[in-house]
């Protein structure tokens, strides 16, 4: 086989000899991905600039509020040594964020372990749904922080109480989304399972779980988003370690610039968490 350079092929085609001046039709080029990406980054920069300008104007008229330059300086300072550890009241921001992430993932993991089977149960059985749903509907609107004292009494440790709050936070979206997925198995698939005498295990494994997987991931993504918001408040209450404690401690120490820097970092990590679950969801749906 001979390799032909792409630019030569046209001349080799019969009827497209050298004298023929005819031009092959050109498909109009769609804008390249790089251009599209550059464009969206540009607009994001515009938005960010407007916010920073607004912040600078507000900070100028309010002397207690640090301006953008102080905020960015604090961010740079915090990120220079993120993992230093000078005793219980003075740790780097990386350690604080790490502590919070461990609490969030622990509480979240317990919520998945409890919530997914519970969701399958109430999604698959009308009786279980009738028994459990009213309880969920009553408990769901309660701020998870209200559970903090109960966690404290039962677990006797502020850190564990914060983890318990995250567990409660993550539980409801996980249960409800799993139940919605399990309850929406198409009649066709249910009939297949019935006609071919699928046992309970085969039915759950081959029909319910595959069908519910996308909504389970959605539930996990919602849970994680709320959990990451709630952890800051829970740690302010706990007053021990973690990013929430860091924010509160910085405020008490009069370091408002650190608070602002922490807000930016919390937001950034929130985006990363959300993106990770979004990707996971897409992968599962494929």
């Amino acid at each position: 086989m001979t390799l032909i350079h792409p630019s030569d092929t046209e001349a080799d085609l019969p009827g497209a000899g050298p004298p023929a001046p005819s031009v092959a039709p050109q498909r109009p080029k769609p804008p390249s991905r790089l251009v599209a990406m550059g464009r969206s980054i540009g607009w994001a920069a515009v938005g960010a600039t407007v916010i920073v300008l607004f912040w600078a104007i507000v900070a100028r008229s309010s002397p207690d509020l640090p301006g953008p330059s102080e905020g960015f300086a604090a961010l740079r300072r915090l990120l220079r040594y993120p993992f230093y550890d000078l005793g219980p009241n003075d740790k780097g921001i990386g350690i604080q964020l790490g502590v919070s992430l461990v609490k969030v993932f622990t509480g979240f993991a317990f919520a998945v372990v409890v919530g997914v089977p519970l969701g399958f149960l109430i999604g698959g059985s009308k009786r279980a749904w009738a028994a459990v749903n009213p309880i969920i509907q009553v408990l769901r609107p309660v701020s998870p922080l209200a559970w903090f004292p109960i966690g404290l009494v039962v677990l006797k440790d502020v850190g564990n109480a914060a983890t318990f709050v995250i567990f409660i936070t993550s539980l409801w979206p996980t249960v409800l989304n799993t139940a919605a997925g399990a309850a929406s198995v198409p009649t066709d698939q249910r009939n297949v399972a019935r006609v071919f005498k699928f046992g309970r295990v085969a039915y759950v494994r081959h029909v319910v779980v595959p069908h519910s997987l996308p909504s389970i991931i959605t539930g996990m993504r919602l849970s994680m988003g709320i959990a990451w918001m709630v952890i800051v408040a829970a740690e302010m209450l706990a007053g021990n370690t973690g990013i929430g404690y860091f924010v509160w401690n910085s405020y008490n120490g009069g370091k408002l610039a650190d608070v602002i820097a922490a807000i930016v970092l919390i937001g950034g990590i929130g985006v990363l968490l959300d993106t990770a679950f979004l990707r996971l969801g897409r992968k599962v749906a494929a």
């Binding site: 066709d188 297949v192 019935r194 006609v195 005498k197 699928f198 046992g199 029909v207 595959p210």
Partner: protein, 256 residues
């Protein structure tokens, strides 16, 4: 032998099955034809054990049908494969679940035989979404045969396929039924007059309310194997075709 005696079934106050009497002998191929809503799918589902009847008797070899069982397998109109399992796993899991008494070697042997019979062994590792509708329905046919049912129930199995694919699948179905399997009896719901005649020994014509569910049962006296190209010129074929046409036109709902 499948027996239905004065079977009634209603949905939302509508009597869908109205006193159905029918006996289907061993080895028969019976087609059910009629307009939408005449209850032919309901009838098949009841025989499959997917729904309970309101009144009457429904039995297979003298035993009342109350639930699905491995002696009856179904092929649904919309393929109904499990979307996240490969074609092979779709057939194997169904065969395994319906026939737990088989060893896994026996199951594997049966699964391979029928996937080969429908020409899908090379595609066995693909998911349903990766193959055409015809291939999905062939998988569903293989799945049904892999259970080795005595009675095969087909609910408009080829309705969603193009004419060429449909013709090929009809042939494959008849070959499997006659030569490759222990399946004796087939009930098939269809919209196609030619399909009904080509495949069946008897055609059950069903009508709309308020009349009885079964308005006629027409025997098809054509020898097997039937050749698709020449059979349509047989006088017997013509006769059945004309009679079906007349019955179905008379039954046509006024609103349509």
């Amino acid at each position: 032998m499948l027996e239905l005696k004065n079977v009634w079934k209603s949905f939302n106050g509508q009597d869908v099955l109205r006193g159905v009497d029918l006996a289907v002998g061993q080895g028969e191929f019976v087609s059910f034809i009629g307009h939408s809503g005449c209850g032919k799918s309901t009838l098949i589902n009841a025989v499959g054990g997917l729904m309970a009847i309101d009144a009457g008797e429904l039995s297979l070899d003298g035993k009342a049908i109350t639930e699905p069982g491995p002696d009856r397998a179904m092929v649904f109109q919309n393929y109904s494969l499990l979307p996240r399992l490969s074609l092979l796993a779709n057939v194997r899991e169904a065969a395994k679940a319906a026939r737990p008494e088989r060893t896994s070697a026996q199951t594997d042997e049966v699964v391979e035989r029928y996937l080969n019979a429908v020409g899908l062994w090379e595609h066995r590792n693909k998911r349903p979404a990766q193959v055409s509708g015809g291939m999905q329905q062939r998988t569903a046919v293989a799945r049904a045969f892999a259970v080795s049912p005595r009675l095969l129930l087909l609910d408009e199995p080829f309705g969603a396929l193009d004419a060429l694919t449909r013709a090929r699948l009809q042939q494959q179905l008849v070959d499997l039924w006659q030569h490759e399997s222990t399946t004796e009896t087939v009930l098939m719901v269809t919209h196609g007059i030619d399909e009904a005649i080509l495949l069946a020994d008897r055609i059950v014509v069903m009508g709309n309310p308020p009349g009885p569910s079964i308005i006629d049962i027409i025997p098809v006296d054509l020898p097997r194997p039937r050749d698709r190209a020449s059979v349509i010129d047989e006088p017997a074929f013509r006769m059945v075709q004309e009679r079906l046409m007349a019955l179905l036109t008379a039954e046509e709902p006024a609103a349509a």
